[in-house]
């Protein structure tokens, strides 16, 4: 007997089907992003970093020395895994985290002011430039934060904390009428 299993987004119960009017400050939740932890094997940090940077279709997030999250908005988790394995072979260890992490995208003119309510890191564009990413605390919750644009940040959170972080972000954005919705 063959089965087809349905995948459920962890925030399904939190995000209304009809998102309503999109405000200038918006929290967008992509339906599915392939995410993998990439850990350079012994002494391979520089090679892995260079190879990942050269692979144009990946987004890279810094986690720790020699450790990154590699993201793909287009590929499935399996294809991302395979591509990374082909690219890095023995130079890195790869762990699929697509189900273990949830990506949230915050954008709008007040996004820095919203994030400052939970994150202690200085997000001034001269300090935290576009393309920068780091593990930071948002309130009580550890997240990976990346600046993807002048007024756009992506937050990657562990799946089990996603609902709490989502609720916290909504509270943080209340002042600016932050709207929320899945990517369309």
């Amino acid at each position: 007997m063959s089965k087809t299993y349905i995948s459920r987004h962890p925030l399904e119960s939190r995000i209304p089907a009809d998102p309503g009017i999109r405000a200038v400050d918006h929290l967008e939740v992509p339906q599915r992003v392939a995410i993998a932890t990439v850990m350079a094997a012994e002494g391979g940090d520089a090679f892995v970093a260079a190879a990942l940077a050269a692979a144009g279709d990946l987004s890279l997030r810094f986690v720790a020395p020699g450790e990154w999250l590699a993201l793909s908005q287009l590929d499935t988790p399996e294809i991302l895994q395979r591509n990374l394995s082909l690219l890095l072979a023995e130079a890195a260890h790869i762990v699929d985290q697509s189900d273990g992490r949830v990506l949230l995208r915050l954008s709008g003119p007040n996004v820095r002011r919203i994030l400052a309510k939970g994150i202690a890191t200085d997000l001034h564009p001269n300090v935290f430039e576009v393309g920068t990413s780091s593990n930071v605390l948002c309130g009580h919750i550890s997240v990976n934060l990346a600046r993807t644009g002048e007024n756009e940040f992506e937050v990657i959170v562990m799946r089990s904390f996603a609902e709490s972080l989502f609720d916290d972000l909504k509270t943080m954005g209340r002042e600016f009428d932050l709207s929320v919705g899945f990517s369309t």
Binding site: S2, Y5, S7, E42, V95, D96, D99, K117, S164, E175
Partner: protein, 985 residues
């Protein structure tokens, strides 16, 4: 206009009248007023009663140091007690009440305390209410607390919202007075990221009360010009209504912003207060100086005010503090106030100057008494005259207000909050900030620089130094010119001699000079002792007015320098901060994050009752129709697992992926048992010790390929084990080639346990899961029917034939649904933490109830697991020390009641039969206990001295909390299937 509102002048908007209430009476003020200025304009000078003697007290200051004018603002759950009227911004509809009076402000019964005051001297609580000792808590303290006190805390839930925010800057300027504004402008022009914080609702500081001209403009207009420029600079943030209250490590400053304290109806989407944590590369204190009160007889009479406050009320708020004002001063400031009053046409009754000669010039026609002293004041609810004495000649002079000026105390609070002590300056007669290094500098009046021109120059100069220090280039700046300044220097006067009435030092706590003298005589002369003995400086104003005077008096009484007395310790907070602001949004569901398992929805729809387990919500049991208690559900779940099959969410266990050439060696050193030769495709139970030889955590680790291991930890220590491993890899053995990361959240993991488990698992996965193909402790990647990739482990916590199936988390609910569907024919049930616990208890499996940090592997029966062959592992050295190998250590045993209907509780202690309960006779304790539906009676795991030699012996289970003593038989801790036939079936 009211009697005391001047006909013109001030920074109030005379076209915008605002009605407010004080003690139920409707009054009218103006936009730009504080509550205090509006009260003064309405001739409401009497605003409260003092803490101990209930003496009538009036407004003394025009700022945050106010000791008397404390009121409760708002009604019901929205009321704020102990709010200083001198900083409360007036708004239409404000509703304020006076405090510490009954039945009314004017007629207060508690004032009897004043008549009793000879018996209420310093330390009187300790002396009077010593005996009998039991009376203190039950009788004396409640009475004293009712008699003495200020506003009452509201016990209702606070309906307001608060939040916390981080901010970052190159330069934080604290205080937007002349010094701070110039510093911010200089730094802002140079391109620094500047935050300028000021506690007032209107930035400008003393400039708002100044009458001098700067660059040809009135001082408030000059302030507005600077502010307009600052507002135009994108790199400058001005934060009004923001009090910087604390200085912390790493140059982080705490500040509270009153976002909606000045509105009648707060907007729901904004907090009423915001707590800022400001990370500043540099900070500049431009907090100005606080005017020092004079200590003279009757100085607490309503109408006696600080001279600078009298000026501020006149110049900034257009309010006369009196119709005929006497001035008592020891320096130039009294003359400045005289000039301000003269300019407003307010009568000056007299100027009493404690100095013999001074260059200060009084307004024409004003009577000046040099070398004079005020010895008493007249009047009840407002001063009506003062008694003046000079060289033995006494005179009573009528007046309805007294402006006093005892010189200036630089506001250095923040600079002293991290341990450095204030430094006495004999030249300036005041304490100055210590040198606290680069992070924080002090400028202007806060640094003892009192002339306005010098403050403007110092603000710009100190900012320029910081600019250079941070590697920016300063933009050249022309300093503004000031005309018409007075010289604010003064000669210290700690005590006006000849007092004929109480001369108060601390107005709010009713501490007068004689209290300090008593403290000194009784051996409490050290400034910190005197503070506690007299309560000087312990009121809500924390000694802002009284602290330095107490130091000066204690020094003068002993004939020593104030430098030798020192100050009491400065600590955050500078002014009180509401608990709500400190909590921010971290309340209710935001108090702690909730972690949800990928099987949460599955559990919920199957009737789970959840329990907090750390941050996780885990199913405790799955209630079915007709089940009324948790025990009924749990017993059913346990029996069903033993007879058929059950499914349980184990996703919360910590999961760590470990890679690398040395991964096996790494694990071999982490665990006390051997892992080097674990075959690929196998799981092994592992015990981790601490360095001290005690068990730290346990779990299974599987080898998925030669250089890839998969570790599970207990739920509780998932984070702890990960940190431990990071420490080991980075600090202890950086030479090992190993990498690891958590995959806890990636997998939904379900235990499928029971004699019929194989049918269910085989229905789900393609791979052969027969005992031959997939024996006990097999572990490997599998493919589910339909192609989904998962992992399968043949491990068992229940003692049954059991598998743990892991699938990618987002598919967890669907796979668990399918397992329920496939299992229906086999009688499957979902089981929760309670059943999980009973099952493991029956099997004698341990948890952190057993591994509580005091237990060695041998204590728990794992002695043979500890590898003797391994050259080293964490905990090896200390596990052989004396005491850890002693024969009479408590060892884990099972207990069953001799009478089957008796029960056990964890925490009970064990005694020999007939022995009296005592520490000496203690034989051990129960770590886990519960009802075993399989056996039909309670069972327990316990630690008993030399327990393994005592199977069959009877012990008493002594439960002091439950009030029971139960006789139990000691037995082997495995109650069910000791031969592991079920496991291997």
């Amino acid at each position: 206009m009211t009697a005391y509102r001047l006909s013109a002048g001030g920074l109030v908007d005379r076209t915008n009248r605002m009605d407010f209430k004080f003690d139920g009476r409707t009054m009218s003020g103006l936009s730009g007023d504080t509550l205090a200025s509006a009260l003064l304009a309405n001739d409401q000078l009497l605003v409260g009663r003092s803490f101990k003697y209930h003496r009538p007290r009036g407004i003394v200051t025009a700022g945050p140091s106010e000791p008397n004018a404390l009121v409760t603002i708002g009604q019901g759950s929205r009321s704020d007690p102990n709010t200083k009227a001198t900083v409360a911004e007036l708004y239409a509809g404000l509703d304020a009440r006076s405090q510490n009076r009954w039945p009314s402000l004017k007629h207060d019964v508690g004032a009897l305390n004043n008549l009793l005051s000879p018996f209420l001297s310093a330390g009187f609580y300790y002396k009077t209410f010593m005996w009998p000792a039991a009376f203190w808590e039950k009788v004396y303290e409640p009475i004293i607390r009712r008699a003495a006190g200020l506003g009452r805390a509201v016990l209702e839930r606070d309906p307001e919202t608060y939040e916390k925010v981080w901010a970052h800057c190159d330069l934080l300027v604290v205080g937007a007075g002349p010094t701070g504004l110039m510093a911010a402008r200089t730094a802002g022009r140079a391109g620094l990221r500047v935050i300028l914080a000021d506690e007032d609702f209107r930035p400008g500081g003393s400039l708002l009360s100044e009458t001098v001209e700067i660059d040809g403009m009135p001082a408030p207009a000059f302030a507005e010009t600077l502010l307009a420029e600052l507002r135009s600079l994108p790199n400058v943030t001005i934060m009004p209504r923001t009090t910087v209250f604390g200085w912390y490590d790493d140059n982080v400053f705490g500040a509270v912003e009153r976002v909606q304290k000045h509105v009648a109806q707060p907007q729901a989407k904004l907090p009423v207060e915001r707590l800022w944590r400001i990370v500043a590369k540099r900070a500049l204190l431009a907090t100005g100086a606080e005017e020092r009160p004079l200590v003279f007889g009757g100085n607490d009479r309503p109408g006696v005010m600080m001279a600078s406050a009298v000026s501020t009320y006149a110049n900034r708020f257009g309010v006369a503090s009196g119709k005929s004002v006497a001035i008592f001063t020891n320096g130039g400031t009294g003359y400045r106030t005289a000039a301000d009053l003269a300019a407003q046409g307010i009568e000056i009754a007299v100027i009493i100057d404690s100095r013999a000669d001074a260059d200060d010039v009084a307004p024409t026609g004003t009577r000046v008494i040099r070398s004079g002293s005020v010895t008493d004041t007249k009047g009840k609810h407002r001063v009506s005259g003062i008694v003046v004495e000079r060289s033995g000649f006494e005179d009573t002079i009528a007046c309805d207000a007294v402006a006093m000026s005892g010189g200036w105390n630089p506001v250095i609070h923040l600079a002293c909050q991290r341990g450095a002590k204030a430094v006495w300056s004999p030249e300036l007669n005041s304490f100055l900030a210590p040198d606290v290094g680069n992070g924080l500098a002090v400028a202007g009046a806060a640094a003892g620089i009192y002339s306005l021109a010098a403050c403007l120059s110092d603000g710009a100069g100190k900012a320029a130094a910081i600019i250079a220090d941070l590697g920016f280039s300063a933009v050249s700046d022309v300093l503004p010119s000031v005309s018409g300044e007075i010289d604010p220097s003064f000669t210290a006067l700690w005590y006006a001699p000849g007092a004929k009435a109480k001369a108060f030092v601390d107005f709010q706590n009713d501490v007068h000079v004689k209290d300090l003298g008593l403290a000194l005589r009784e051996g409490f002369g050290h400034v910190e002792h005197a503070k506690r003995y007299t309560t000087n400086g312990m009121a809500t104003d924390q000694g802002k007015l009284s602290g330095i005077n107490a130091t000066g008096l204690l020094a003068a009484m002993q004939g020593i320098s104030p430098a030798d007395v020192g100050t009491t310790t400065f600590r955050p907070f500078y002014t009180p901060v509401a608990f709500g602001a400190l909590a921010g949004t971290s309340r209710d569901e935001h108090a702690a994050p909730v972690r949800k398992s990928p099987l949460y929805n599955w559990a919920q729809k199957n009737g789970a009752v959840f329990v907090d387990s750390g941050l996780w919500y885990r199913p405790a049991w799955f209630a079915r129709d007709g089940e009324r208690t948790w025990r009924q559900s749990t017993d059913r779940e346990v029996l069903n697992v033993r007879q058929n099959v059950g499914i349980c969410d184990v996703s919360t266990l910590g999961k760590i992926e470990i890679f690398g050439r040395d991964a096996a060696e790494f694990l071999n050193r982490l665990y006390c048992n051997a892992f080097l030769k674990l075959p690929v495709g196998k799981a092994r139970y592992g015990l981790m010790l601490r360095e001290d030889g005690m068990v730290y955590d346990d779990g299974t680790t599987s080898r998925l390929s030669s250089e890839h291991f998969f570790m599970t930890t207990t739920t509780a220590l998932a984070g702890g084990v990960m940190s431990h491993m990071e420490y080991c890899a980075q600090v202890l053995w950086p030479d090992l080639k190993v990498r690891f990361c958590s995959s806890t959240d990636q997998w939904a993991q379900m235990a499928i346990a029971g004699p019929k488990a194989r049918h269910v698992v085989q229905a789900l996965v393609e791979d052969d899961v027969s005992d031959a193909a997939f024996p006990f402790l097999a572990a490997q990647a599998v493919t589910l029917k339909g192609g989904l990739k998962g992992r399968l482990f043949r491990i068992s916590f229940s003692g049954e034939l059991a598998y743990e199936l892991a699938v990618p988390a987002w598919f967890g609910e669907a796979v668990a649904d399918a397992a329920m569907e496939e299992g229906r024919a086999h009688g499957i049930c979902a089981y929760g933490l309670e059943a999980l616990n009973v099952l493991r208890l029956e099997k004698g499996h341990v948890t952190h109830a057993e591994f509580d940090g005091r237990v060695t592997p041998d204590d728990a029966g794992f002695g043979r697991m500890v590898s003797a062959q391994k050259s080293d592992f964490i905990g090896k050295r200390l596990s052989t020390r004396y005491g850890l190998t002693a024969a009479d250590r408590m060892q884990m045993v099972g207990l069953k009641p001799v009478e089957a209907d008796k029960t056990f509780r964890a925490g009970a202690h064990l005694l020999r039969e007939g022995a009296k309960p005592s520490t000496l006779n203690d034989q051990g304790y129960v770590s886990s206990a519960g009802f075993s539906p399989t056996l039909g009676h309670d069972i327990a795991l316990a630690f008993l001295k030399s327990g393994r030699e005592r199977y069959g012996e009877r012990v008493v289970v002594w439960d002091k909390l439950g009030g029971t003593e139960t006789v139990a038989e000691v037995c082997h801790p495995v109650f069910v299937d000791p031969g592991n036939a079920k496991l291997n079936s």
